[in-house]
Symmetry: C2
Subunit: 538 residues, 2 copies
Amino acid sequence: MAAYYILLLSCFFYVGFCAFLDVVKEYDLMPLFRAVRDRDSYLRARNDILLEERNQRIGHDVILNQNEERVNGILMKFKELEINRSRTHGEPFPPSVNFLVGKPLVEKSQVFQIIKSMPKGAALHLHDTSMVDLHWLVQNVTYRDNCYMCLKKSYVYFNFFGGTPPSNPDCPWKSVREERAKATDVNEFDNLLYLNLTLITPDPAKAYPNINVVWTRFLQTFDQVGGLINYAPVFRDYFYEALNEFNMDNVQYLEFRGLLPKVYELNGTQLDKDWVMKTYHDGFVNFVAEHRNEFSGGKVIYSGLRIVPENDVLSQVKESIRFRQLYPNHFAGYDLVGQEDPGVPLLGYLDALLYPSEQTPPLDLPYFFHAGETDWQGTPTDRNLIDAVLLNTSRIGHGYALDKHPQIMKIVKQRNIAIEVNPISNQVLALVQDLRNHPAADLVAQDFPVVISSDDPAIWGARGLSYDFYMAFMALAGEDADLRLLKKLAINSIELSAMTQIEKNKAMNLWRQKWDAFIQKMLHQLNQSGGDVSSLFG
Amino acid sequence: MAAYYILLLSCFFYVGFCAFLDVVKEYDLMPLFRAVRDRDSYLRARNDILLEERNQRIGHDVILNQNEERVNGILMKFKELEINRSRTHGEPFPPSVNFLVGKPLVEKSQVFQIIKSMPKGAALHLHDTSMVDLHWLVQNVTYRDNCYMCLKKSYVYFNFFGGTPPSNPDCPWKSVREERAKATDVNEFDNLLYLNLTLITPDPAKAYPNINVVWTRFLQTFDQVGGLINYAPVFRDYFYEALNEFNMDNVQYLEFRGLLPKVYELNGTQLDKDWVMKTYHDGFVNFVAEHRNEFSGGKVIYSGLRIVPENDVLSQVKESIRFRQLYPNHFAGYDLVGQEDPGVPLLGYLDALLYPSEQTPPLDLPYFFHAGETDWQGTPTDRNLIDAVLLNTSRIGHGYALDKHPQIMKIVKQRNIAIEVNPISNQVLALVQDLRNHPAADLVAQDFPVVISSDDPAIWGARGLSYDFYMAFMALAGEDADLRLLKKLAINSIELSAMTQIEKNKAMNLWRQKWDAFIQKMLHQLNQSGGDVSSLFG
């Protein structure tokens, strides 16, 4: 009995002691401040804070070997130089300039040149029909037989027709070949076609005064090229070219949202989603077979438009479950796309989206929801972030509004839900002007599971992933963030992909080989330039 | 002995149990997700998250009484209406438009009208010579005897002279009275003078392409009016007018950074810092005596320019210690001001700034450092945030870069260091364009000790505190943030001021009276309009 009381007492004592420890813990920073009286202890305390913050960032756990450190030295010399050029000398800072006019500034950057040749791992947030540089559509596809164009309100639309095109009074079809032949300057003709399909404009702020205007124009560009890309032979080639361009940009794997659109043949045959999925599957398999030492493959995320009735979403969910079974290695899951602000919030599709988890046993369908791609805090769009995590999303597309949701941030960190950040997209599509104000900077500072992607690079004249990696490096992180950040972003992209563990291991091995080759190549270039960094990229 | 072992054992047991609890705590969100299978449990989990986030925001702890709830209803009706006007119908959203052109949009807002009549507590971040609407300088001061103007590179400068002005070949002095008499249109003449002293321009992005350009022009405006404000009789009147304007804007207390400049008299006498401090002291005392039921007073924060040699800072620190003893009720402490990016970082003044704490016993000098007013992460400017907290700052001016410093955020929260947020200033001075991207939104979402102030309202054509309160309400918080936020921001401003506890109690009592009167007035207006909210502000 006495022992029992002693046990009880000691427990009480311990509880008290724990509570006391908690108090001490809560005020653990206080001694720091009490101690800071003289210069030396001040500088020590300062260093501790700097170190503490360095140890919280993306890349803090990356250890560079001697060769990597040398490459890092080159990279950081350029980074400092380029930042100071703007910070001190007032030259435009590329991430602060709308990419629609700022692209040439990026291309002048040596940091960008290094990033281009760096193996960047995976691009996990792309869309099916905006992955390929539009120059390819113009220079290759519009030169093909049976290609027709028409002009509506000064915007050009395309289609292929086997015989005489049907009457189209709104927008009468003309042979591209004949129109091009009539042009006084073919290069100018082609360049006008190119510009007409992009958002590029000399004064973006004037052309696109708000997010609704730029999104309307943005969605229109998809319509303009739809008739080109959805023509079966082009569809296949387009996908090959997409893989090719990302591979050329040192991206070895990609996951993209696909609408799985209706594809047509000249004879009027309409090809369905199964044909599209098979085409993607074959495309991946063939491309990987041809580029075994360079490329790891990819997966499709089927995406409905967030404007359709809930029944359509349910059908798409069910189709996705079927595709997941049919193509376990090339079909990743489901998402909803389109401008988020006016779109139906995830909550509006709740029953359809809960369908897989409500079955017994639950059916396997990973989600990859776009969520919080908005500046409008406290609105249904903004709350898509809550629904995305409650619906057990594997990753979040954009998650631009995440910082304003401390509880969702906690969940995202705890469950390692990747945030797919697309800096240039957010700038061009009017969420933020100066990318140094992009909220993902906070996520980078706190080692959130961030991956960088390029969303719809073609539409704003970008290509591959390097432009967005450059923005992340220069604007979403501080002047002192170095190669460790870039390396970790590449590693993140593989680890946070929808690959199986075995696929990840394989992809990671390939990435490491490419990374080592990149480091060797950089050192070789440095040696060739006699150690003169400034002449590295001529 | 047995009892001892039992105690020891039970301690071990307890430690293990605590560790187990920690694990459970870390994964406390998991059951939430496991449980989410059907619609009902989903909606409950969703509501829990919404509630959890609501309970973390600024204002979450404010309980509104029935009358306040009614006023809140009016306020929120307008807020929703105005947000939807932009969100859905694409009208310009005032916080997204540079204030230099967007001011009229704010003034059309009913939310703004309500905020104007709301007692807002204290304005804690202001600067001595930019507190008064510049219309007053033009309409009152430039009409006084002995006032001269000159034009240099199309910018107007002023000075008072007792006799004939000295030769000034660069910028020859002319009598304002005579120049005005020559003007064909006096109103136009005065309006041109006004615009010439502000940053107002029809195309801010073009006029001020980067932060360095806008800061150069900004600092120039202080030079332009220096000769007006630093004339002794005007200096006194200017300060009275400042208190008057803020009082008229329902601000009852202010703390401002003062350079304690040299003030001149017509006979050439130069008045020193002691005269200036005495003038401020007398100004506060007299104004409060005249407005006992409206106004609580204020304090001066002496501010050096962050470009001077360290010796000057040391002298200023010592002078501040003296002023703190001389004027315990009207002198708050010390700060350093000027454009932070090119300025000397706090670390560069370390010895001077450590001086008070290095004395035995340490001398009393609270700091109120501007820190992190920058977009340049990872630079010395950005690290001023670290030095500000290590130097034991009482508040942080701007702290714009705070979000990028997770460790400093922790310290700031733990030690309740107020962040003085000046939304319009940050927009006009080129840190951020769309205020919905202002990083303080995260601080609001997490109930950081935030106060809203207006920095230099006169220079961009604002007045008092209401414009900035409006921006905070509409852009730094979600559509669903309500009267609770505004009330808490007012309460914060008093609690986080440099007032003593007794002064705070007194100020809080006065604020409560004013708040109750505001609620009564709003309800009265509502009753008079027969409950028709839309006609409230006719």
